[in-house]
Symmetry: D2
Amino acid sequence: MSAPTLATFRPQDHEYAFHFDGQREPYAELVAGALAMVYTEDCFGGAVLSVDDLPSQVCEWPFLNPVTGPFHIRGADIGDTLAVHIVAITPARDHGFSSTFPHFGLLTSTAATASLQPPLEERVWRYTIDEAAGVVRFHARSSDLGVDLPLEPMIGTIGVAPAGGETHSTLTAGEWGGNLDTRLIRAGTTVFLPVNVPGAMLALGDGHARQGDGEICGVAVEVPMVVTLLVEVIKGATIGRIRLETDATIVTLASGRPLEDPVRASQHDLVLWVADLTGLDLLDAYQLVSQGGGAVVGNVVDPAYTMAAVMPKRHLPAAAYYGGVHQRLRSTATQ
Amino acid sequence: MSAPTLATFRPQDHEYAFHFDGQREPYAELVAGALAMVYTEDCFGGAVLSVDDLPSQVCEWPFLNPVTGPFHIRGADIGDTLAVHIVAITPARDHGFSSTFPHFGLLTSTAATASLQPPLEERVWRYTIDEAAGVVRFHARSSDLGVDLPLEPMIGTIGVAPAGGETHSTLTAGEWGGNLDTRLIRAGTTVFLPVNVPGAMLALGDGHARQGDGEICGVAVEVPMVVTLLVEVIKGATIGRIRLETDATIVTLASGRPLEDPVRASQHDLVLWVADLTGLDLLDAYQLVSQGGGAVVGNVVDPAYTMAAVMPKRHLPAAAYYGGVHQRLRSTATQ
Amino acid sequence: MSAPTLATFRPQDHEYAFHFDGQREPYAELVAGALAMVYTEDCFGGAVLSVDDLPSQVCEWPFLNPVTGPFHIRGADIGDTLAVHIVAITPARDHGFSSTFPHFGLLTSTAATASLQPPLEERVWRYTIDEAAGVVRFHARSSDLGVDLPLEPMIGTIGVAPAGGETHSTLTAGEWGGNLDTRLIRAGTTVFLPVNVPGAMLALGDGHARQGDGEICGVAVEVPMVVTLLVEVIKGATIGRIRLETDATIVTLASGRPLEDPVRASQHDLVLWVADLTGLDLLDAYQLVSQGGGAVVGNVVDPAYTMAAVMPKRHLPAAAYYGGVHQRLRSTATQ
Amino acid sequence: MSAPTLATFRPQDHEYAFHFDGQREPYAELVAGALAMVYTEDCFGGAVLSVDDLPSQVCEWPFLNPVTGPFHIRGADIGDTLAVHIVAITPARDHGFSSTFPHFGLLTSTAATASLQPPLEERVWRYTIDEAAGVVRFHARSSDLGVDLPLEPMIGTIGVAPAGGETHSTLTAGEWGGNLDTRLIRAGTTVFLPVNVPGAMLALGDGHARQGDGEICGVAVEVPMVVTLLVEVIKGATIGRIRLETDATIVTLASGRPLEDPVRASQHDLVLWVADLTGLDLLDAYQLVSQGGGAVVGNVVDPAYTMAAVMPKRHLPAAAYYGGVHQRLRSTATQ
C-alpha cells in the first residue's frame, strides 16, 4: 500500500461557512484514502486579537463559529455513512483566547433560561500554548496566578448537511453533528456521520486547545487549527446518530435539552449498538451498558447540549465495527 | 502516633434505617480517630437471592435501600462539617445482583416521566465477584456471553440528618447526601458533609461492586459491603453542598432535576471553592474551572439526579483544604 | 338533614406547623359533616408588616409557610381517600403582601438553577384588599400606578402526612399535596388526598388573595385567611395523585421538575381517570383528553413545580365521581 | 374608508412548503390593507382519508405539516415587525382527523426522550365537524361513545423566514414562529412577527378544528382551513419574540425545552412589554405580571414546546400597542 496523498485546504476569509446546509456549493472535494490538511479558523473568526477585544463588540451574529467546508465527499450517497478519521489536530498559533459572553454560558441566565438579572462581566483571557511542552497556560486577570493545563486539541464543530432540507447554524447541534463541543473528537478518533445529501457536505471548525467537561463558561481555549483527516464512505450503512470509534472505545452522541434527554438518546443508541455487536437482546445489552459504560458531558451551554455514551472495547467481544474502517484509517494515517 | 482503634458495626435485621432523619435514635457512636468497620446490606435488603427473585415481588416499598446508622458523631455540632474518610470498601459476598425494575431507570418511562407504555421486562442478573482478580463478571441472560468488568467498589448512599427538620427516604438525595450513586465515593475518598443536627447522624449503605456512569438501568451491581471509615469533625466550617477530596482531586456534588440543574449547582460550588483556594475573583475561577474542570455523571435515575464537578489538584496552587484533614485521615488510615 | 355544626380553629403562634409529618401530634380533630373554620397565617408567619420588612430579614428558614394542623380526621385509615371541600376562603385582613426574595422565583437564578449573577433587588409590595368590591389593589413602588385586580382567594398549601415515613417541608409538594400554589384550590373545590397514616393528618395554609399562573416572582398576594371546609372519608378508595373536583371540572395534579414531568404525570392521571369514568380504553381516553382537556400552570417557582390537568364535565358522560361526594359536600355547605 | 379588496390563495399540490426558509421563492405577495383568503392543507398533507390510513404509512417525512406560502409582504424590511390579523378560520371540510403516531406525543417515549419501550398503538380518529352547531364530535374507537366538543378553529403553524440564514422544518418552532400549536392564534388575534428578510416571507398552515392544552397525543383535530387575514407592516419596530394581541389581552410566546424555559422566556418578554407600556420599572412590572398574568400551555409535544404569557388589558392602563395596529386591522376586518 502506498502512502496517502496529501491535499491542503485553507479558505479565503470570505469562504468560511456559518451553516450546515445541503444547498451550499462545495468548497472542495475529498476522496477516500487521501490525507487532507484542513485549516480551521477560531470561533471568533479571528476577530479577537487581545484581551481588550470583547467578542460582543468585535464579532457580529450570525458570523460566529466559522467552519471550513463544505467538502463534497466523492462517492457518498444518501443512506451511506461517512467515516472521518482525525489524524492530527495542530494549533496554528501559539496562543488561544477564551471569554465570557453576555447571557451565554452555564452559570448565567440566557435568552432561553431567561432572568431579569444583568449579564456577568464580559472578559477575555489569552492563553499561551506551548506545543512542545504540551501545555496551555491560563493567566488570571484578577491576579498574577498562572496555571499550566494539558494541551488537548479537539474539534468543537463537525458535521454534514442536515436531513430533510434544513439549514442549521454552526452554533447548534443535532443528528447532522454541528457544535458538539465534546473532548472525545480529537486525534485518533473516527467520527461516523450520516450522509443526508449527495456528497455528504462535511464541514468542521471551532478548534479548542482544550476545554473542561461542559465548556461551562461557554467558550473553550479557542484557536485556529490545522486538522489532518482521512475519510471513507461506508456504502449502505445508515446511522441515526453520530457515533465515534477510538482504539479503546465506541461512543454514541446525542444533543438536546433538557440534559437528561441527550443522556437518554446517547445511551439508547449505545444499547442498540452493543446489542448489534454482541448478539445480546436489548435488556441484556442495557444491563451491560449500565454496569460497563460511561456518560461524558460534552457541552451544557450551546442551544442543544451534547452528551456522549461510551463503552470500552475491552468490555465487548472482539469485533470489527463497520467492517474495520477505524483500524484501516488508523493504519493508513500512521504510515 | 499510635494505630487507630477499630470498632465493628453490623446491625440486626430490624436495625437498618430507611430514612435520613434527625429524630431517629442513634444506632451507635463514632469518635474521631477510631477506625470503624461498618457492614452495609444491599439495596434489596438481602431479599434477592437468585435471578428468580424479582425485586418488585420480594421487596416492599418503603423498605428499600437500607442504610446502617445513624451514627452519632461525638463532638459534631450544628454548623460544623463532618469529614468521613473511606478507608476501604470490601464486598461481603462473592456475588452481587442487578435488575431492571418496573418503570424505574433511564430508558423507560417512570411515574415522574409518565407514559402510557407498559413497563420493560423485570429481569435479574447475578454477577460473580472475584476480589483477588479484581473482577465482577456479567453473565448474560439471553445468551452465554460473559464479560469481566473491573471490580470498583463504591458507596451509593451516604448522608446525614437533613436540615430544617425534614426526613427523607434513602432513595433520594439532597444537600444532606443520600442516594448519590456516584463512582467517586470509593476507597481513598474523604466525604465532607454538613452537620445539621447535634451528632450529625451519619448513615451509609447501598454498596456497589461497580456501576457505569448514570446507573442507567437504575440498579448497579448490588452487594453487601464492609466499609472501613474514619471520621473527623471540622469545627466551625459550614458547607452548603457535599464536597469530596481525594489525593488527586477536589469535587463538589449536587442533586436535582432537570440534569442541567445539578450540573449548574455543582459547578457553581466548585467555582466558589476554587476562588476560595486560589484568591481568584469569581470570573477568573469560572474561567479556570471551565478549561480545567470535569463534570461526572453520578446517577440519572433516582428522584434527584446527582452530578459531580471535579478539579484536579495539579491545576491548583498547593493548598491544604479544610486544614489538611484529608491528608491527615489518609495518613491515619494507612498506618 | 340538619345544618352542619361549626367548629373554629385558630392556632397560637407556637402551634403552627412547618412540615407535613405523620409523627407530629394532631393539632385538632375533624369529623365528617361538621363545618370547620380554620384560620391560616400568611406565608411570612405574619412577620411582614410593611414594605420595609424584607422577608429575608424578618423571616427565618425553616420557619416559613406555616400551616394550620395537622388535623386528625376521624375514621380515616391507610388506603382511604380524604375529601376536603373548600366552602369559603375569606381574607382575615384588609391588605396582603407580596415580595421578591433573593434567588427565588422564575426570572432569577436560584440555588438549584445556579448562576454567578447577584440576586435581584428584594422588594415588598402592599396590596389593599376590598372584599366588598372583590378587588385586590396593586400599588407600584416605582411610580404612582395602581391597578385593581380581581380578588380570587385560594389556598396555596394543603396536604396530608406523606407516605413512607417521610417528613417534608411545607415549602415543597408531592403526592401528599403541600405547596401546590394552584389557583384551582378555591371556594367550591373538593380536594381528594391519599390517607397515608391513620387520621390522614390534614394541614393547610398559605392563603393568597390572588396570584397569576405560575406565581412567577415566587410570592403571591399573601394574606391570613379564614378557610371554611367540610371533610369526608371515602373508605377503601386509594388514589395515587391529588385530584380535585368542582361543579364544572375534574382535575388531577402532579408536582416535579422539569416542568414537562408534572404535565406528563397530571395528564397521565387524567387519562386514567377519564378511562375509568367512561369505560374507554386508554388510547381513546388519551385522545379525548388531548382534544378536550386543559393544562393549567400552578407554580413554576417552588422546589417541585405543580401542574393541573383539567377535564370539563360537559365533555364526559354524566357520572358521580367517588360516589357523588363532591355534590354531597357542596350541598351540605350551601344549606 | 373603503372595504378591503379580497384575494384568494390555494396552492397546487406541489406548491406547499415544508420549511421556513428565506431562500425560497415567494408563493405570492400580500399587501397591507387587502384581505387574503388562504387555503391551508391539514398536517397530513391530505393523505389521511379514513381511520384506516395510518399516518406513519401514508405520510413521508419530511413532507409533513405543509404550509401555504411564503408570502412576500410588500414593504416589509429587515428590522420591521409584521402584524398579521386573523380575521376568520373556517374549516374547508366537514370532518377532521387526529391520531397517535409512533414515538410522538407527551405520554410516550420519543426519539428525544428515548426508552426501550415499544411505541403505543398507532390509531386514527375521525371527527365530525358541524360548523353551524359549533361542534366537533369525537367518536371513540373502543366503544360507541360520542362526545361533542366546541369547534374552536385555530392555526397551528405560522411564521416567517428565520433570521441568520437558517432554514427550519415546519415541525418545529422558534423566534420565527413555526409549529406553535397554541389555541391563542384564532380568529380575532393579531400576530406580531419579526421581519428577518426582505418581504418577511410569511407562511401558515396546520389548522386545528380544536385541541386541548398541550396537544398531548401530538395531533389535534386536523383539518384544511380557509384562513382570512389582513397584514400590516410596522416600520422600524423590532421584536425579539412572537407577540399576540386580542381585544382583551396582550400575549408573548416562546418555544424551547425544558418547558420551564419557554415559561421563563415568555414571561420575561411580557414583563418587558408591560414595563414598556406602563412606565413601571422591571421589578414593578415583574410583580404586576406575577399577580395579574397568565401562563398558557401551547404544545408539549413538538421539538420545541411553546408557552404563552398573557396579560389582560383590563390590568393595564389604556394604551395603543404598536400604534393601535390591532384595533385598526380589527376595524378593517369587520367592515
